[in-house]
């Protein structure tokens, strides 16, 4: 499999704190790639670097061989990247459906004048989009919330809404930041199914997750971070057998 995303010696420093230090890995196209590590290991910071919210202090990020580090998030979205957030970034001032429609932003005619004058082609596209967004929500298991206001939805549904919004962008590369955090075992199982379904539809998934059962059953490859540094990388079996990982991480839990 060719590498879709390559990260090379990536580092970022906040003041004196080296949050991510010299991390390298590559994500094969079509894979489910998991990033694990204890709290504060730099997993979310890594996502923020790759998706353009932070600018790296040094290192390189390549998407299909093209260097993309330092580009702003909206340009990266154009290249086919989408993500969800661990601490929910839902627009609570909008309905659930509208949140998903925002995900499709780049695939729409965003002209201000046409919008104000209710241009016929725009209105037609808007009706199609509602349909598409509703399908995205159904795909993510949110068919009961089609008419809901985002601020009236339960936590578990909002986590799925994050995924539905990301899917509405029709991404090639999807970053999921702890999609199962705070969910009960049944919901976690459902999210795992959803992630697998997404991957079978040809979307490359990079996943941060604490639920080891879920990670081990889903991930093709796993990257282990500890204190901002790469501790290990490999298949589930390799990582599970790695003595460093057992000592630093799994050992503490098992």
């Amino acid at each position: 499999m060719a590498a879709l995303l390559e990260v090379d010696a990536l580092s970022i420093q906040f003041g004196g704190v080296k949050a991510v230090q010299d991390v390298s890995f590559s994500v094969p196209a079509g894979a489910i790639y998991a990033v694990i590590g204890p709290n504060g290991a730099g997993k979310t910071t890594l996502f923020n670097l790759i998706t353009g919210l932070y600018t790296p202090t040094s290192g390189e990020i390549r998407l299909e061989g093209q260097a993309i580090q330092g580009k702003p998030p909206h340009e990266l979205a154009r290249l086919g990247m989408a993500r969800t957030f661990q601490n929910l970034q839902i627009c609570l001032n909008m309905t659930a459906l509208e949140n998903v429609m925002v995900g499709a932003h780049l695939r729409l005619d965003r002209n201000l004048i046409k919008a104000a004058l209710r241009w016929p082609a725009l209105s037609r596209r808007e009706r199609e989009l509602r349909q598409e967004a509703a399908e995205c929500m159904a795909y993510a298991g949110l068919e009961d919330f089609l008419e809901a206001r985002a601020d009236a939805m339960p936590y578990g549904a909002l986590k799925r809404l994050e995924i539905a919004r990301a899917l509405a962008a029709k991404p090639r590369l999807l970053f999921l930041d702890e999609p199962a955090a705070g969910l009960n075992p049944k919901e976690t199982q459902e999210v795992a199914e959803l992630v697998r379904k997404i991957a079978t539809h040809g979307v490359t998934v990079v996943l941060i997750e604490h639920d080891m059962k879920m990670v081990m059953s889903l991930a093709d490859r796993i990257l282990v971070l500890d204190y901002g540094k790469k501790l290990a990388e490999g298949s589930a079996a390799e990582v599970r057998a790695n003595p460093d990982v057992i000592a630093a991480y799994l050992g503490a839990h098992a």
Binding site: L53, C91, A115, E126
Partner: protein, 314 residues
């Protein structure tokens, strides 16, 4: 879904009906005058609400843009013989350019810094209008020629009322359309969560600049019309307190509510007229209203009523 569309047009139809029927109840020129002022303010507040309520960006200097329009319409026809319509366009263009010029750096800022920068811009404009006496007549102000469109002079309350009714309806319609478009959704999304909007591909600075410019143009055009309608303009039009009045209208009517803008403008345009006899108390009343609304009814009148109504239905 059908209910959604019906409601959207329903509001517009009701406002149109009210605007058509109101003159039956008007007994004198004063009533027309009040309605015209309300309509003018409503259009400004609509633009400002797109910025404050929908996009979540504050401006404490919008009266400055009002001033640009007003003075363009005052100065260009009187001093240079421009036709009023062209002067109005020139004012709007000037407001748009200024807004675009300052907006890009301003909108890298957030919250308090943004409030400060917009406020500073407004204050500078107000001082300029006061000081450039050879052009603006200084603190005493200057007279403005009547509005004529292609040789047809617009005068008398009834004609002005008709013009403003049409403009108000158009603005309501266009704003409603805008909010439910990809552009409008991007605005609301960056209000809800800037990172989520960015990651979805929204170039947030560009959107903030665009809506700032649009609301500045709204304000400038209405400034021009006010100047022609009143026939006189003073630097007070660009005053800091006037900017605050406009923000109050947004807040009282309801942030992120199109019809709230109308209600806010109506109430707060009528209020000072009612309070005019009690000098000084109008400032107190304005301040008290601002505080009370923000503390006890932070969503404003229309959204609060709408929420009540929804609940009642269930």
């Amino acid at each position: 879904m059908i209910a959604f569309f019906r409601r959207r047009h329903g509001g517009l139809v009701i406002v149109a009906l009210i605007l058509a029927l109101l003159p039956l109840f008007f007994q004198n020129a004063y009533h027309y005058d009040l309605a015209i002022r309300i309509a003018i303010n409503a259009v400004i507040v609509l633009g400002l609400n797109l910025l404050i309520g929908f996009a979540g960006q504050i401006s404490l200097g919008h009266a400055g843009f009002l001033g640009i329009g007003a003075y363009a319409s005052a100065i260009l026809p009187s001093h240079y013989g421009w036709p009023p319509l062209l002067a109005m366009m020139a004012g709007a263009t000037c407001a748009a350019l200024l807004a675009a010029l300052v907006a890009r750096p301003i909108f890298r800022l957030k919250g308090h810094y943004l409030a400060m920068a917009t406020l500073g811009l407004g204050v500078i404009l107000a001082i300029a209008f006061k000081n450039e006496a050879s052009l603006t007549g200084g603190p005493d102000g200057m007279a403005v020629v009547p509005l004529s469109l292609f040789g047809y002079e617009l005068s008398g309350e009834k004609k002005w009322y008709a013009l403003m009714a049409v403009l108000l309806l158009f603005s309501l319609w266009a704003s409603t359309n805008l909010i439910d478009s990809p552009f409008g959704r991007a605005l609301r999304a960056l209000h809800g969560s800037e990172v989520a909007a960015q990651v979805a591909g929204v170039h947030i600075v560009r959107y903030k600049v665009a809506i700032f410019v649009l609301s500045a143009v709204f304000a400038s055009l209405m400034g021009s019309l006010t100047a022609h309608y009143v026939g006189f303009v003073t630097p007070n039009v660009a005053d800091f307190l006037h900017s605050i009045e406009l923000v109050t209208m947004v807040v009282v009517g309801g942030m992120a509510s199109v019809y709230g803008s109308l209600v806010g403008a109506a109430l707060l345009t009528a209020l000072p007229q009612a309070l005019a006899r009690f000098e000084g108390w109008e400032t107190v009343a304005f301040g008290a209203i601002l505080m009370l609304f923000m503390i006890f009814l932070p969503r404003g009148i229309v959204p609060t009523l709408a929420a009540r109504f929804e609940k009642g239905k269930e």
